[in-house]
Amino acid sequence: MSGLRKILSNWLPAYAFLYIVFLYLPVIFLPIFSVNTSASPKFPLSGFTLKWYEELPHTPALLDAAWNSLMVGVSAAILSTVLGICAARAITRYRFPGRRTINGLLMAPLVLPEIIVAVSMLLVMLQLGLSLSLVTVVLGHVLVCIPYSLSVLTSGFEGFDRSLEEASADLGESAFGTFRRVTLPMVAPAIISSLLVSFTISLDEFIMAFFLTGTESTLPVYIWGQLRFASKLPGVLALGTLLLVGSFVLLTLAEILRRRAARRTQNTGGVFA
């Protein structure tokens, strides 16, 4: 046993290091080549330039795609967060039959092959006679985002001591006042975190958007379209880098808020008591 532990403790850091390199090396290439003067992504690098970035705002199709993504992202984020709030509140507050099953079903899109879900969604939309548009993309994205919203919100709501709301009512506050002065401030970080996470996921999501959109494209769909033209590659890399940085910032922010929400709700029970 101790021999195995020794081997592990020697090799685990090396393994972890390799794993991280494998995971993130390709991601590092993206920003590196996006500031390279040469149009083809090859080593050695030929020089530093920001021209690929400067060209971005002068591409109307890209601006349209960005606007579409923004609209879809905001709608999907709001919808999945609102639905997530209802579900998370029910799951954390009430004990009802099938609670675990429902929770499991809501989390399932996380592990289902996305392409299968996308094709099924497409079939459903067509059966319902909906014409494909950004609206159908939003619906698809809500489905993808809900598991993330739900887990962020559940962790924020969990341990929310119900007696806090009762204490507020006891001190004379109305139901609405209690929501405004106690419930909201305590779960606001989790809600914002859920909005950020689902927005980011919608922003980066490709398969659903590809299957469910009509003529308008979102950013990932636009990027996919550009990849056919070798000359457009540096622009795509620049755009990709921006998306990467944006996502990273949003997700970090979301995680910070989620932790703050969890901390708030969790130490109401009297840590010292």
Binding site: D161, S163, L164, E166, A167, S168, A169, D170, L171, G172, E173, S174, G177, R181, V182, P185, M186, R264, T265, N267, T268, G269, G270, V271, F272, A273
Partner: protein, 367 residues
């Protein structure tokens, strides 16, 4: 504790309150009157319905049937936020996103007082619970005892007609708990508000209350002063819950209004009060006597009322010794607690012993 002259005006009237969960009755036809300015305790084992009753007074739950009135006003249909009661929660329920001052001032915000008046009342409440100067502390930076005081101040600042406390001391360690018992009692006397304390700790209830209601299985078994509850429990269950009690089988010889004469094997013929709630069961009755009401007779000391037996066991508890004494004729040996002033801790097991008792200490009760 000095008796205070207190108003007899009823503050809370609970009439035939039942709370059912399906077929299970958490409260079963409970009736109770609590007077103005009283320190009243609901005492009973876990699950007997204490919290259920308290939450119905506060307005967090409604009776399945029956009525609750506070200060003469029927409470049915009045939501918690419009009742003249405030509660100290078992978990304290301190708002974690607010500091001490904001927590205490939470309810005052609704009253729209001017800023100086609001501040004055918050300061006053903090002073009442000895938290002066801690107003700016964050709610998460408090010790258990301090959280408890904040919860108390937050409720007191509202000047309620009734303050409800659900096991407020159970999360504190023994020393702090005893200190808070004294403080809570002093505070109640200072503000004169009716306090209703829920507890499962009989010593806490005995030490703090003007009156106690003992509850079992959703029913109120007895309502009386601590002394009455301790010395004259209505039945074996109440007697047992409030500490050790020796039970002696008896046979009723004669009943005479509020008193009766019974024959016992160990204690002979005894005249005793007949409790109001006495349930008769043929000629059989049960007498009880507390272990500390039996006194060891040393050497050739004599008493009008004594029993003789043999020490069969002895337990040492520092300031007292617990003797188990077998008395011929009694089915169970008696427990006797004796202070260690005179050497009770040195009485050898197997020694003959004589015990004196006051016949008044032998109380009849229902089985």
């Amino acid at each position: 504790m000095p008796e205070r002259s207190k108003s007899e005006r009823p503050m809370i009237e609970i009439a035939h309150v039942t709370r059912s969960y399906g077929a299970f009755k958490a409260l079963d036809d409970a009736s109770l009157t609590i007077r103005e300015g009283e320190f009243f305790s609901l005492l009973g084992p876990s699950g007997c319905g204490k919290t259920t009753l308290l939450r119905m007074i506060a307005g967090f739950d409604n009776p399945t049937s029956g009525s609750i009135a506070v200060d003469g006003q029927e409470m049915l249909g009045i939501p918690a936020n419009r009742r003249p009661t405030n509660m100290v929660f078992q978990s304290y329920a301190i708002f974690p996103h607010l500091n001490v001052e904001q927590n205490v001032g939470y309810g005052l915000k609704r009253l729209r007082l001017d800023a100086t008046e609001e501040k004055r009342r918050v300061e006053e409440a903090l002073a009442q619970v000895s938290l002066t100067g801690l107003g700016k502390r964050g709610a998460t930076e408090l010790s258990g005892g301090q959280r408890q005081r904040v919860a108390l101040a937050r409720a007191l600042v509202m000047r309620p007609k009734v303050l409800l406390l659900d096991e407020p001391l159970s999360a504190l360690d023994k020393k702090l708990r005893e200190q808070m018992q004294v403080e809570l009692r002093r505070l109640q006397q200072a503000v004169g508000i009716t306090f209703i304390l829920v507890t499962h700790d009989q010593y806490e209830a005995l030490a703090m209350s003007d009156r106690i209601a003992v509850m079992f299985g959703g029913k109120i078994a007895q309502v009386a002063s601590p002394k009455e509850i301790y010395q004259r429990p209505v039945n074996r269950q109440v007697a047992d819950f409030l500490g050790g009690m020796n039970f002696v089988k008896a046979e009723i010889v004669e009943e005479n209004g509020a008193s009766m004469t019974v024959d016992t094997l160990g204690f002979g013929r005894v005249k005793t009060d007949k409790p109001a709630a006495f349930v008769r069961n043929g000629k059989a009755a049960t007498l009880g006597i507390r272990p500390e009401r039996l006194r060891v007779l040393w050497d050739d000391a004599k008493d009008k009322h004594e029993v003789a037996g043999t020490v069969v066991d002895r337990h040492y508890f520092g300031e007292i010794t617990h003797l188990i004494v077998d008395i011929p004729g009694l089915e169970k040996p008696l427990s006797v607690t004796e202070t260690n002033n005179f050497g009770a801790d040195d009485i050898p097991v197997g020694a003959p012993i004589r015990l004196a008792y006051d016949p008044d200490a032998l109380v009849a009760m229902a089985d």
